[in-house]
């Protein structure tokens, strides 16, 4: 093979590689366009951030309530055993009530996890798009239960209703 033929073959190979790269970029751009999800950025991520804020606030409040109850017990005058016993009982009940934060923060963390799974799914789809994969992974499926629309978990401040309002409905 002459030197000219070798150069022509190299140029053809390079040209083909350039065409392939451009094709991959175009496919990836198209796939990424399909993955554009305003709801994730405008709804799910801000909500997850607010849920974490609510978790921090609730754990702080619960810790404070538990410590206050413990301090009240430590400061008790034991010279009147009946009164002291009553106060200890009351403080223990306040501690129990405060411990309900574990349930509610658990539900909030579950909501944050759902958002993280959504983000994970999107990242997987992006990886596929960059790899030139033609098939994009399906979205995380929503729960199939018929009453799932009623499963929202704990409301954020200002979202839900108060117990007084519920009491009016049951009066």
């Amino acid at each position: 093979m002459s030197s000219n033929d070798e150069n022509t073959a190299r140029i053809k190979k390079l040209t083909q590689e350039c065409v392939d790269i451009v094709r991959t970029i175009l496919v990836a751009r198209r796939e990424m366009g399909r993955l554009h999800d305003p709801e994730l950025r405008e709804v799910h991520l801000p909500r997850a951030s607010e849920e974490i804020g609510a978790i921090l606030a609730m754990t702080e409040a619960a810790t404070n309530d538990i410590m206050l109850a413990a301090e009240d017990m430590m400061a008790l005058d034991m010279s009147d055993p009946d009164y002291a016993a009553e106060q200890v009982n009351g403080a223990c009940m306040r501690i129990f009530e405060a411990c309900s934060f574990q349930d509610i923060t658990g539900q909030r963390i579950a909501n944050v996890l759902k958002t993280l799974q959504l983000v994970e799914s999107k990242i997987g789809q992006l990886e596929n798009a960059w790899a030139g994969a033609s098939a994009v992974e399906p979205e995380v499926a929503a729960p199939a239960a018929t009453d799932s629309a009623l499963l929202n978990g704990p409301a954020l401040e200002g979202e839900g209703i108060e117990q007084d309002f519920v009491d009016q409905l049951f009066a």
């Binding site: 309900s100 009453d147 117990q163």
Partner: protein, 128 residues
């Protein structure tokens, strides 16, 4: 009729901490016979094997939610008059309305105090 403080009560919640809290609050109020279930399905099996005087259930559980449990209980010829209190963090109006329409006797929003639980028990069971 006076409330029997030894009547069996079933509390249903998938968080063990919450089961302990409700159990302790009920004990403090004087109730002595308290059973626990971690989900609606287990609760339903227990309700069919023992005569309970009251169910206190969370809403958000898997595989059977407290709301589904409520609907099954109300559709059951034997269990349909069972006093049923929902204790849940679900605090949207539509949840309360749906539970009311499904036949719940009362609805408590978490977090709640012992005083609130006592008031709702009185509203459902009568004075004790």
């Amino acid at each position: 009729m006076a409330v029997q403080m030894n009547m069996p009560i079933l509390i249903v919640d998938d968080y063990r901490t919450m089961l302990r809290i409700v159990r302790n609050l009920l004990s403090k109020l004087g109730f002595t016979d308290i059973d626990e279930a971690a989900d609606g399905e287990t609760a339903l099996a227990m309700l069919k094997s023992r005569e309970y005087g009251l169910v206190i259930s969370d809403w958000n559980m898997q595989p059977m939610t407290g709301f589904e449990l409520l609907k099954v209980v109300r559709a059951d010829d034997v269990l349909k008059t069972m006093p049923f209190i929902m204790v849940t963090a679900e605090s949207k109006v539509e949840n309360v309305v749906a539970a009311r329409q499904a036949g719940v006797n009362n609805y408590i929003i978490k977090p709640f105090s012992g005083a609130v639980l006592k008031a709702k028990l009185k509203a459902v069971l009568g004075e004790f």
